[in-house]
Amino acid sequence: MSDVSIDINKSSREIQEENHNKGEYTTFYDVKTKYKGILSWLLTTDHKRIGLMYLYSLMGFFLVGLTLAFLMRFEMLTPGPTIMDAQEYNSAFTLHGVIMVFLFIIPGIPAVFGNFIMPMQLGAEDVSFPRLNLMSYHLYLIGGFMALGSLIFGGTAIDTGWTFYVPYSLRTGADVILPLMAAFILGFSSILTGLNFVVTMHRMKVKGMGMFDMPLFSWGLYATAWIQVIATPVIGITIVLVVLERAFNFGIFDPALGGDPVLMQHLFWIYSHPAVYIMILPAFGVMSDVIATFSRRQIYGYKAMAISMMAIVFVGYMVWAHHMFTSGMSDFARAMFSFFTFLVGVPTGVKIFNWLATLWRGSIKITVPMFFSLASIFLFSIGGLTGLVLGALSTDVHLHDTYFVVAHFHYVILGGILTMFFAAFHYWFPKMFGRMYNQKVAMFGAIMYFIGVNVLYFPMFIMGYQGMPRRYYDYLPEFQIYHVISTVGSWILITAILTMIINLFYAIKNGRVEKGNYWEAMTMEWEDSPSPPPLLNFEKTPVFRHGPYDYPDFSDEKIEEAK
């Protein structure tokens, strides 16, 4: 690949078009930048490089969280202390939660694939505010290192659970302030990304593309971005209040000074419930793109899909107190929050049925991303339906704070979101790196992953139902069989994840070179741009020609008509 010779009298677009006419282009990896070496990455404003930096950082933090999860499951192999004591176990589940939630799954798909892919899906050269985008990455890094720093330098690591409920978080001797400030900074980073994406999707679409011409992945990010903007500030102020309360005794949450700890729980969940939609909506978006591509079909009910995501944002903002059914609330409030919880299942159901309807009479090709999507529909449905069990008032009293909740949450997160993170990784890998991974190894990993999630989390439903409380490091002997199965499941799952990650990272340098539209998808990032893309994403200013999923129709009626 040759360097661009630069004529200062020409715009970069003209230069790129000239090179295109000569039959060559420079990828964004090879383009000459103002800074050299590592600084050409750390100080870049290119959304693709920022997306990749997010990818590597996220994977690093993910592995730390995964290690903590492995240790926790290992501890639960036998009753009583196995490899750690109670205090270490409290710190382990807290740090696992903080790292996985704030550093991995919330930034997750939007920060990596949203940054890299979304502007290309719109036919744009970059996001609306590239420097702000870089700033959000820097804030993310600072927050990440603060969170890790408290793990290493903090004395006793934070042991409050990732929810840091008062009054315990005000009284514990562990290091609370550093991880909370980390969460605050990460929240800021999340807000800036969301703000940037909303403006980008309104202002940067290629000429002729309307809101309802965007691929559903972009729609998922749009819905997510709104939640990032409207929910995250609330956790920001909550964190500041807990920190100040702990440092100066303001009397806002401390019951000894007249504060109300339940109000803190409300403020916490006003953000943290919508936060699960920040996690899942981009995953829904990936799912729509992948299923359409590998069924070769127009997504069934495109507008319903887009609108249902916005409906989830709207209704999802009003369900937070279903985390607090046992905390002390009026019966009327509990009934309303339970009602809204059931209501949010409706748009989610619309999406599940529309995906299935898209598959119907499609020309289905089972690739790794497609396998993940199908597995995700299955696993997420289990997670979603058990969520309704917890959303019903009477059953929640029985199941609150048991392993049932843990199983439900992880079926949603690993079954619905991490699957789609890996689906997105496998789907856009050839786009991002211009190379292809070993699909057999990847498929092996994916199947192992599916088995691992079920073996790990299904026994938790049973023991939770029987009364095993969460966050306990010890248990009665009768629960041991479930804990042993679950721990074995964690080994299967971790092996699967490591297999996939090693396979993918090996292929970044050594994979087979694949330059074009590898999956023959119809969205702009595949059709109009080479892989890996040039600096400004497209060699020529792209033209909006057709909707994102205008695959030729192979339904019986159309074939009849053709005859």
Partner: protein, 225 residues
């Protein structure tokens, strides 16, 4: 270093988004979208409103729980100082608008003058706040003090919220004053001029928000007895 501008349809905001080439042939891709910047600023203001929203939510909760304590505690605040600060901030919002109008009409000196007045108002506000807070602290009313600990619980919440909300607001006043000072530098250096004043407009929006929040804080703490 030369820059080549590229015109997009209805995009008129610039950022040095991409630079590539060596230093002798640096190429900067210029892209400008004023409306986009303004939309971004409004979204940011929305997040600010929600940040304070959490505190207003708490104020509402504790006031409903113990209205008598809030009534009693509010009598300790100096309405006069609060009223003066309200007038000062309202004036500063006016001068901010005048500064934007001045730059639109290309009167650089007038614009700088109005911005200087705005900063002066911000400083006046801060000085007032300093005297108000130090009087309170002198009387032993501050979070964690022994005097406060002896108060009824509702009053502890009142003073906790008083320090938090006015404190967070004061922090925003300081940030706003710094932003306006930066705008003045940009005007002198002609980064902000009569064709390109979106930064000043956005700073103005921020300043109005700071003003607006005070408009709510003043009656809630000082006037509602």
């Amino acid at each position: 270093m030369s820059a080549v501008s590229e015109t997009h349809d209805n995009h008129h905001h610039d950022h040095a988004g991409h630079g590539y080439g060596d230093n002798s042939k640096l190429y900067i891709h210029i892209f400008r979208d004023d409306l986009g910047s303004k939309v971004g600023m409004w979204l940011f203001l929305f997040t600010e409103v929600l940040l304070f929203g959490g505190l207003f939510f708490l104020y509402f909760g504790y006031r409903v729980a113990d209205p008598q304590a809030f009534h009693d505690a509010a009598l300790n605040l100096d309405v006069m100082l609060g009223a003066v600060n309200t007038i000062v901030l309202l004036t500063s919002s006016l001068t901010m608008v005048l500064a934007i109008v001045a730059i639109q009409r290309d009167s650089v000196k007038l614009s700088l003058f109005y911005l200087a007045v705005t900063i002066a108002c911000a400083l006046t506000f801060l000085v007032n706040k300093y005297f108000e807070w130090s009087a309170k602290i002198h009387h032993g009313i501050y979070p964690g003090s022994d005097h406060v600990a002896e108060m009824p619980q509702g009053e502890i919440s009142f003073f906790g919220l008083y320090y938090l909300m006015t404190g967070l607001h004061t922090f925003h006043v300081i940030v706003g004053a710094i932003i306006i000072a930066v705008c003045m530098v940009f005007i002198v250096k002609k980064h902000i001029n009569k064709d390109k004043y979106i930064i000043l407009e956005n700073s103005g929006l921020y300043w109005h928000l700071v003003d607006l929040i005070w408009i709510f804080l003043f009656p809630l703490f000082y006037l509602l007895h």
